[in-house]
Symmetry: C2
Subunit: 353 residues, 2 copies
C-alpha cells in the first residue's frame, strides 16, 4: 500500500514513509515549515508531549505509527511481545485527555496474536496504522458533508483551536465542515480564535485557512463575546478531544466559554469529531482527566518572559462543555442531537456505512 | 502643593514634578521599570495612544497634566487661549472609549476664563490637575471599602485587565477593592486573566499583585470559564472605561464574556469605577464608540510574528457589558444596584461626601 496514493491532493501533517514517521513540526509554524523524520518511538512520544504533533485524531495516528517503530526496534528481542506491550503503554500515556490515542493503541495491540512472528506483527501493525490514518481522513470528509448540511447559505462561523489537516489524519473535523461548506458556498466567512496559550488558532488554523483561500478573521479569545454580540455569527463549530457517553465534551481550553456565549446569543454550538473520539466507557465529563501543562506556556512566549515573575499559573489544556450546550455532535455516522445520551448510543451501535 | 505629600506610601504610575509629567512606561513592564519625563503635551498624547499610560482614570490624569504642558508651551503666544483650546481637543481625542479623559479635559478647560492671564491659567490648571489625581486616588480608596463590604470572608475573586495604581490616579478601582478586601482578610486568592492582546493582566496586574504580596493565579482568558465552573470563584470584579446612564459598561475586550460566564455560574459580577467614568449623556451602551486598534497587536508580540501571514484581524479594544449582567457598580459614592438606570441617577445626584 502506498502511503500517498489515497489523497495526493490533500495536505497531511503526518505520513508513514520509508519505515519512518514524517511529520511537520507544528511548534515551528507558521513562520517555518520543518519536517521531522522520526525513527524511534520515543521521539514520537516527545513530539506528542511537546505538541510538534497535536490534535486528538492526529495524535492517534502518530501513536499508531510509533507502535510500528517500537515493533521494528524490538523485532529481534526474545521478549518482543512484552517489550511491545510496555512501549504501547508508554505511547498511550503521552497525553491523557484525547480519546483517539488510547483508542488507536488498543486497536493496534488487539491485532497482535501470540502465534504471530515479530515480522508478521510488524506487517499487521503497519497496515493497520495506515488504515487508521486513511479511515480518519475519510471519516472527516463525511463529517464535512454532514456538518455542511446543518449550515444555511452565506453563513459565518466561529471556530476555536486547530481542527484541520494539522490536527487529524487529514482534511480536518470542524475545519473539514468549514472546508466542505466553503466549497459549497454555504460558509462565506470564518472567525478563528487565536487560542491561547499556544496560539493554535493564530499559528495553525489561520495558516490552513489562508492556504485554502477561505476568508478569515483572527481574533483574541477574549473578543469572541463581542463578535457573537453583533449578530454576525451563525454557528460555532469546534473539534473534540474526548466525548463522554452523555455528550459532555473535552476540548481545547476556552471551548466551554464559547458554548456559554453561544447559548446567551442563541447561536447553535456544534462539535465535529469522528466516533473514535467518543468514549462510551465514560458516563459523563466528570470522569474525563484534564491535562495540566507547564506554566511556562503562559508566562513565556518563544523563550521570552511575558508575565510578571513570581505569579502562579493555571494552565489546563482542556475544559469540558456540558452536553446540554451542544446543539449537535457531527460524526462520520451522522449528527447526534439532544438528548445526546440516546443519540450517541444509536450512532455508536449503527454499522458504519 | 507637593505632588508626593498626599500618599507617600502608595505607588503611582504618573506624577507631576518639576513642571514635567513623569510616568512609568507600561509597555516595558514587567521586565523593565522605565520612567519617562515628558515636557511636550504631544509626547503625552503619544504615550496615551501607545499605551505607555493606560487605564481610563490614569489617562484622565495624564490628559490633565498634558494640558498644563500645552499651557506652558503657549504662555507667550498672542493666541494663547485659542491654541490651548486646540491642544485640549487633540488631547481629548487621544483615545475615544474611556470617559475620564474627556471628563478631565472638560473640567480643566471650564476653569479658563477670558480675564485670566496665561500665567493665571497655568496656575489654575496645575492645581486642578493635581486635584484630579488626588481625588481619583481618594475615590478609589472609598471604592475599595464599598467593594470589600460586598465580599464574604475567604473569597476568591476573578479580575480582568489592569485596574491598579497603574491604571488610575492611585490605588486602583477593581484592584482597590481587591487590595482593601485582602488587607481585611476577606479576599484569600485572586485569579487574574492575562488579557490578550496586550497582556495587561499578565504584565501589569500580576506585577502589582505580586508587589502587594497578594496570592495570585494567572490564567489565559480562555480558561476563565473552566475556573468559574469549579465553584471556587465567589465574585468577578473589573474596572470600566465608560458607563452609560443605564449601566451598560464599556471595558477591556473580554469583560462581556466574563459577565456571561458569571451569569451562567450564578457568580456576582461587579464593576468598580469612580463616578468620573459614568457618562450620563449616553442613554445606553449602544452609543459608546468602540476603539479598533492595530492588527499587529494580535499578529505580533514584541515585534515577532505569532500569527499566520495574510489573515485579517478583529482587534476591538473594548466590549460593552449590558447592565442586566452587572450585580453592582461600585463607585466612591456607593454601589449602584439593579435597576441601574434609577440607581446611577440617584448616585450621580448625591453630593459627594
Amino acid at each position: 500500500m502506498s502511503t500517498t496514493a489515497i489523497e495526493t491532493t490533500t495536505f497531511r501533517c503526518i505520513e508513514w514513509a520509508d519505515e519512518t514517521v514524517k511529520l511537520i513540526d507544528q511548534t515551528r509554524l507558521p513562520t517555518e515549515e520543518v519536517w521531522l523524520e522520526l525513527h524511534d518511538y520515543r521521539d514520537v512520544i516527545e513530539a506528542i508531549k511537546s505538541l510538534r504533533v497535536r490534535g486528538a485524531p492526529a495524535i492517534g495516528v502518530a501513536g499508531a505509527y510509533a507502535l510500528v517503530l517500537a515493533a521494528q526496534e524490538f523485532v529481534n528481542e526474545p521478549d518482543f511481545t512484552h517489550r511491545l506491550s510496555i512501549s504501547a503503554d508508554e505511547i498511550a500515556d503521552a497525553r491523557p485527555t484525547g480519546a483517539n490515542l488510547a483508542w488507536a493503541i488498543r486497536r493496534m495491540t488487539a491485532l497482535v496474536q501470540s502465534i504471530d512472528s515479530p515480522k508478521q506483527v510488524i506487517e499487521k501493525l503497519t497496515a493497520e496504522s495506515l488504515l487508521i490514518q486513511r479511515e480518519d481522513e475519510e471519516a472527516n470528509r463525511r463529517i464535512g458533508q454532514f456538518g455542511a448540511d446543518l449550515l444555511s447559505n452565506g453563513s459565518s462561523v466561529l471556530t476555536h483551536c486547530n481542527t484541520g489537516a494539522l490536527a487529524t489524519g487529514g482534511y480536518g473535523t470542524a475545519f473539514g465542515v468549514i472546508h466542505t461548506a466553503w466549497s459549497q458556498g454555504k460558509v462565506k466567512h470564518v472567525y478563528a480564535t487565536e487560542t491561547r496559550p499556544l496560539l493554535q488558532g493564530a499559528r495553525l488554523t489561520a495558516w490552513e485557512l489562508v492556504r485554502a483561500g477561505i476568508d478569515t478573521t483572527l481574533l483574541p479569545d477574549s473578543a469572541a463575546g463581542m463578535i457573537m454580540c453583533q449578530g454576525i455569527i451563525h454557528a460555532v463549530i469546534t473539534g473534540a478531544d474526548r466525548i463522554a457517553a452523555n455528550g459532555d465534551t473535552a476540548n481545547k481550553i476556552g471551548t466551554y466559554t464559547l458554548a456559554v456565549l453561544a447559548k446567551e446569543q442563541g447561536i447553535p454550538f456544534y462539535i465535529a469529531a469522528p466516533t473514535t473520539t467518543i468514549d462510551m466507557s465514560l458516563p459523563s465529563g466528570e470522569q474525563i482527566v484534564i491535562e495540566q501543562r507547564n506554566p511556562d506556556e503562559v508566562t513565556h512566549l518563544r523563550g521570552s518572559r511575558i508575565a510578571a515573575a513570581g505569579v502562579s499559573v493555571y494552565n489546563a489544556a482542556f475544559d469540558v462543555t456540558p452536553a446540554e450546550l451542544i446543539a449537535g455532535i457531527i460524526t462520520e455516522r451522522g449528527v447526534s442531537k439532544k438528548p445526546h445520551t440516546k443519540s450517541l448510543k444509536t450512532l455508536m451501535e449503527r454499522a458504519d456505512g
